[in-house]
Amino acid sequence: MTYYAYLVAVFVLLTGVFGIVRSRNLIHTVVCLSVAQSGTYVLLLAIGYQRGVSPPVFGSPPVKPTTSVTDPLVQALTLTDIVVSATVTALLLAIAVQVHKRHGTVDPNELVALEG
């Protein structure tokens, strides 16, 4: 059990990349890119987890601050990562919509404008 979380993180990253390589639709490529990125969420939060301690928030049920809590930094990094994922996904979806307008198709294998 000790390494299962890290292995799932690597598995999700590679699954996402596999999705990109086999995709037949640019929208699906962008979706698989965000799946690949969620591999990094799992790795970061697994690194920050500590067995049997509460989250580092002392306000909801007001509790005396203690340092036996899970790591706040990985959660801040994952928050930033989720924002980056959402925004880059939105940008790439907008580009994919434009590719469909100009090329009439979203199948990456039929796009031949940039060969050679």
Binding site: A9, L14, P65, T67, P72, Q75, T80, A90, G104
Partner: protein, 249 residues
């Protein structure tokens, strides 16, 4: 490269990368271990600035520059989407057909939950320094909440409520306020993005000084950014008809 050749290359390369990463991951400290030196330093630092939610303290106080970069990425992407989905010469708008039939229950659901979601959004932003949540999460809830009007009412209803241009002000106001606060902190107390506002007492609503201010700035920016983003995609999906495609389809 043919599709099968590409998949073969990926299977070989992906497998080797997987082996490399797994070997690397096996040297990590055990899952759930208590080795977290940064947490041992961050919790006292957050408590020193009277911030109960240590994650918001890390986000807006200890590592404020990361969050400035993150909000600028959000601003850049919304700007990029607006630039990329701007009407091209060979496109014209067409008014969407009458909306389809709508269950009364969905209409009720929409109108009941709309004020509720907006309230939750405001609370999440305001209590960013106390309870889980903060500027970003609250902004997301606010941004999506307004679209319940689209679920309950119709596309016209939502178009009236969210003037896209006014929301660009909200977005640039939020990101600009964050950056200006950083510069002000640097000029006033020689500390860029330093926590120079009064910290208040631990556990109260108006505690944690600049964390609350920056959290609200981010809330405003994220809410308007999300609405402008969804407005662009809704506009593309519903209103714009491109001659290129019309000709081809």
């Amino acid at each position: 490269m043919s599709r099968t050749a590409r998949l073969m290359m990926f299977v070989v390369a992906g497998g080797a990368v997987g082996v490399m990463l797994v070997l690397g991951v096996l040297d990590l400290p055990h899952f759930g271990s208590s080795f977290h030196p940064y947490r041992d330093a961050a919790v006292p630092a957050a408590v020193a600035h009277a911030t109960s939610n240590v994650i918001s303290s890390v986000n807006f106080d200890l590592r404020g520059l990361d969050t400035l970069g993150e909000e600028t990425i959000l601003l850049t992407s919304v700007l990029g989407v607006a630039a990329l989905l701007r009407p091209a010469e060979d496109e014209e708008e067409r008014k969407p057909r009458r909306a389809g039939s709508l269950l009364d229950m969905t209409r009720l659901f929409g109108y009941v939950f709309l004020p509720l979601t907006l309230a939750i959004g405001f609370i999440t932003v305001a209590h960013g320094a106390l309870t889980p949540g903060g500027g970003f999460q609250g902004g997301v809830v606010l941004g999506t909440g307004i679209h319940l009007l689209y679920v309950a009412g119709s596309y016209h209803a939502i178009e009236k409520v969210r003037p896209v241009e006014a929301l660009e002000y909200g977005e640039s106001l939020g990101a600009g306020a964050f950056a200006c606060f950083g510069i002000a902190g640097a000029l006033v107390s020689a500390s860029f993005l330093g926590n120079i506002l009064p910290w208040g007492t631990f556990g109260e609503l108006f505690s944690s000084g600049s964390v609350l201010f920056l959290s609200c700035a981010v809330g405003v920016e994220v809410a308007s950014g999300v609405i402008v983003l969804l407005a662009q995609f809704l506009h593309q999906a519903i209103e714009v008809e491109s001659h290129v495609e019309a000709g081809k389809a």
